[in-house]
């Protein structure tokens, strides 16, 4: 029993260390897409992942990477499950994950909205602090960036462009 627990914990660590294919400074555990890793009675490791966005092209990559790492670590039977509900939220990005994003020049998300988000037609929106110089004098240049999960910003103080992980 103790061995099984240790084994489950080890499997969780191995799966959790897989880097995200698009934000490689983050592990799947940092990103919060690894929902659960458990060991069944017959020794199968069942890892549950949740997609960030419906169209995220990295999902198949993540599944394959987790399975490959677990197999390489000696787990012969690996099953990857997809969890759609509850949907992923940026609130699941861990504190170390947020720190790593900022260190790489990507502004981490603020708290995700709860419930329906009404249309916002006035110009006043929350300012995202610049991850490089900390200035709050920033502006959004595009709601969408290189990936669906980020938006493009510009810092008016240090004049650097930066990306921001959008709250969802």
């Amino acid at each position: 029993m103790v061995t099984a627990l240790l084994d489950a914990r080890r499997a969780r660590q191995i799966a959790g260390q897989v880097p995200d294919p698009e934000l490689p400074m983050l592990t799947l555990a940092d990103l919060g897409v690894l929902r659960d890793v458990e060991l069944t009675g017959d020794g199968t490791v069942v890892a549950s992942l949740t997609p960030t966005y419906s169209g995220c092209p990295a999902m198949a990559e993540m599944r394959a990477d987790v399975a490959a790492r677990l197999r390489a670590a000696g787990y012969e039977r690996v099953e990857i499950r997809t969890v759609l509900s509850p949907p992923w939220t940026t609130d699941w990005i861990t504190e170390p994950g947020r720190r790593k994003l900022a260190e790489h020049g990507i502004a981490p998300p603020g708290p995700a909205p709860r419930g329906p988000v009404p249309l916002q037609l006035s110009a006043t929106r929350r300012a995202v602090p610049c991850p490089r110089c900390g200035s709050r004098d920033t502006g959004e240049t595009s709601r969408f960036a290189a990936t669906s999960c980020k938006s493009l910003w510009r810092c008016h103080t240090c004049r650097e462009p930066f990306e921001h992980v959008k709250e969802i």
């Binding site: 294919p21 092209p57 997809t82 290189a146 990936t147």
Partner: protein, 275 residues
């Protein structure tokens, strides 16, 4: 990239499966999801809803992708492509769900690549050509407002898979609608020329809006959003009157077949191809 040959580099570390490059090796997007259908759910109706919503999304995604290399600015191109990608993801999940419950066992590709225009159930607004940027924005505003309102209701659907797809989609569609609303206000309240084009776009979209309101009862929510945006933009509300026929019944404009011909060309020319 250590190797001389880019394809060899891409193939590294993928010895045990068929994926030779990042982003390939598509598999069932519902892989590993509990797909049991609860008792009492009308599976034919569930499949019908899934296909209609998937067709709207697939056709919209194709139109949005057509803006790539043609958008006014790089940022908008990236935005439109990202919105299309979200919709494509929703379509994949919905087609997979339809195939599981309609008794045919079809996969997502069977719905996307081997059906003719008559078999598609998207609303006609989705298939109209892109026109200018104003038209595409107004169309996106209408479609994303309707889809968001409808998905917000589907969150409570008795089928847990459809409910979960909807819950995820709500978050994405909120960004799509906001993007379209921002541009609508900017263009409507912009220059004389941008205002003129937005008026024209609203006139063109008008007749196709009614079709959205026949299928599901989210009319009031959508009208409310359109009123807020047009007021802020200094634009008139679109005049929606029903057109004869219905995209949901397989009646389409002459624009859908060429769109599908392009979308399906590789799959039809090479039926044995895998990706």
């Amino acid at each position: 990239m250590s190797d001389d040959h880019v394809y060899l580099t891409l193939a590294e570390g993928h010895e045990d499966d068929t994926r030779w490059a990042y982003g390939t090796g598509f598999e069932d997007p519902l892989h590993g999801v509990d797909t049991a259908v609860p008792e009492g759910v009308d599976v034919r109706e569930l499949a019908r809803v899934c296909v209609a919503l998937a067709d709207d999304a697939l056709v919209s995604a194709q139109r949005l992708a057509e803006w790539t290399t043609r958008a006014p600015e790089l940022e908008e191109e990236v935005a439109l492509a990202n919105i299309g990608l979200d919709l494509l993801g929703q379509a994949r999940l919905l087609y997979s769900r339809a195939g599981q419950v309609d008794g045919t066992g079809r996969d997502e590709d069977a719905y996307a690549y081997v059906r003719d225009a008559d078999d598609f159930r998207n609303v006609r607004l989705a298939e109209l050509p892109n026109g200018d940027f104003a038209f595409s924005i107004v169309r996106l505003l209408v479609l994303s407002s309707w889809r968001l309102a409808h998905f917000a209701r589907l969150v409570d659907h008795p089928d847990p898979v459809l409910a979960a797809i909807a819950a995820k989609g709500v978050k994405e569609l909120t960004y799509h609608r906001q993007y379209a609303a921002d541009w609508s206000v900017r263009l409507g309240d912009g220059t004389e020329e941008s205002h003129r084009r937005m008026r024209k776009a609203l006139e063109l979209v008008g007749p196709y809006v009614g079709e959205l309101f026949t299928a599901y009862d989210v009319r009031d929510e959508v009208v409310d959003v359109l009123r807020q945006v047009t007021e802020a933009a200094g634009l008139p509300m679109p005049v929606y009157r029903p057109l004869p026929g219905a995209g949901r019944a397989g009646d389409h404009t002459e624009h859908l077949a060429p769109l599908l011909a392009e979308l399906q060309s590789v799959a039809r020319a090479l039926p044995e191809a895998t990706w």
